[in-house]
Symmetry: C2
């Protein structure tokens, strides 16, 4: 198949950025992969792994002349990166990102996008608990969804080309409003991470002897939470700070439900507990049917 | 290796009971596996799968003459099963269970154990989200811990024989006080399940359109919770009802921590969030080092 973009620039080569390198190579989607990363170590590692065709010391140089620029850094860096690259973006280029909060992407990058550049925020709903350029692999996006949230009036051709790019990275593509994206992800991703971080922290604060046993006997459910709670701390800090309203809204509902179950346990209301637990099985079946298990 | 028990009786052949059948066969640990199950369907399925040597219509008949009796049913059934089998237990037999709350096992079964029968409560810390006789497999216990909580004065020979049984099922064995077991499991297993059940229920209550999207985009963390929340409802109802004190204590600590993180999100305290998320990574490393990942 033909190259989709002669030159792709990746700002950041962590888990998502490095997986994109692999997926782009696998699909023959770009003529040239340019990249940058904030730390010298990450830049050197990405070069050593042969992930990129050219490595640049800063975002502006990396983005210069690229047909597709993908920001793959924590959301808190967007405004700074936008300021650094805006003058270097080629007319007709597509600017996108992979962040987990889309209203923040629109808020921080939108005003900086020059005339003639197509801004199409995106979010591949895929990941692992590992970070850094060594963590990437070509199959990360296979069968997963990528959500695009183009602002009103965005050039349809640009949206189509970016959608085709993600499809050829293995994803299915969905178009969504940024606000709707942020509430859906608050429940499917942000709240689960917050909960997992909390419970693992609660365990960390137990007295020494008990904490050792918690590690030893983690196979009863806890270890799944520790996997989630091992995800990148800065990336997650930025997600919570930038999707505050939606996370607090969903967290409020969760706390109400947890309080109701807590009360059922305290008062020995077995029927209430059993009914709740039967109901939740149905959602699991839905996920298996949707091939997202 | 030699047969450990000429006759083993399993009361219940769900996930754990049927996995024990496979592990017993793999290790050549018993001369004969007798079993029973409450439902006709389960009994027929276990026979069809060739899991047992004899299937019995009730617990008393199954336990009669057995050298090892393993109760593999929800904790709420223990008192009834104890009453049904006590007169049929062979002198010198070992009576054990696999339940996730050990103080309740001691409370409900202890007073019913006849003179000359060795009562050694147990808990293999292993499982999957699947239930029923089809769900079992020989490797379920491999490398996992089995906790035994023998009451004071229990015959050491009986404890040693049961420990050897679990080791030859693939497990490592640990001896513990029942109360301590219940608090450790409250954090490593019971609270994670309660949280997972809660969040999946919270998602179930969203309006229809959003719920469909929650299933579709579950790869961001939510699907791991749905897996946990697909576990057997009756088993889990009984765990929460029977480990109330420990679960409520740990839940209290969890809620305090969650409230603190919620406040940090509301007030934009990024440093506090990042510190917390860095700290939780260390526990994950501990679990990987302990080979329980």
């Amino acid at each position: 198949m033909a190259v989709l973009f002669p030159r792709v620039a990746l700002i950041g080569v962590g888990l998502i950025g490095s997986s994109l390198c692999h997926a782009i190579r696998r699909g023959g989607l770009a003529g040239h992969i340019a990249a940058t990363a904030r730390s010298e170590r990450t830049r050197a590692k990405a070069v050593e792994l042969g992930l990129v065709d050219s490595m640049h010391p800063d975002a502006g140089t990396a983005a210069a002349g690229a047909d597709l620029v993908v920001i793959c850094t924590p959301i808190g860096t967007y405004a700074e990166i936008g300021a650094a690259i805006r003058a270097r973006l080629k007319p007709g280029a597509i600017l996108t990102d992979v962040g987990s909060v889309k209203q923040a992407a629109v808020r921080d990058l939108g005003p900086l996008v020059p005339e003639g550049v197509h801004f199409v925020p995106g979010h591949p709903v895929a990941g692992t608990e590992h970070s850094g350029p060594e963590a990437g692999f070509a199959e990360l996006f296979d069968g997963r969804w990528c959500i695009l949230t183009p602002p009103p009036g965005t050039d349809q051709g640009a949206v189509d080309r970016l959608a085709e790019f993600w499809r050829r990275c293995g994803s299915q593509v969905e178009i969504m409003e940024p606000a709707h994206h942020d509430i859906v992800l608050a429940i499917t991703s942000h709240l689960p991470h917050l909960i997992a971080y909390t419970i693992v922290g609660t365990a960390t604060d137990l007295e020494d002897a008990t904490r050792k046993e918690v590690v030893k006997f983690s196979a009863g459910g806890f270890r799944d939470f520790t996997r989630i709670a091992a995800s990148d701390p800065v990336m997650w800090r930025d997600i919570f700070l930038n999707n505050r309203e939606a996370v607090l809204e969903i967290l409020g509902r969760f706390t109400e439900d947890l309080t109701a179950l807590q009360r059922a346990i305290r008062w020995g209301e077995g029927d209430k507990l059993e009914d709740w637990f039967i109901r939740t099985r149905a959602i699991r079946r839905g996920i298996i049917d949707a091939k997202q298990a």
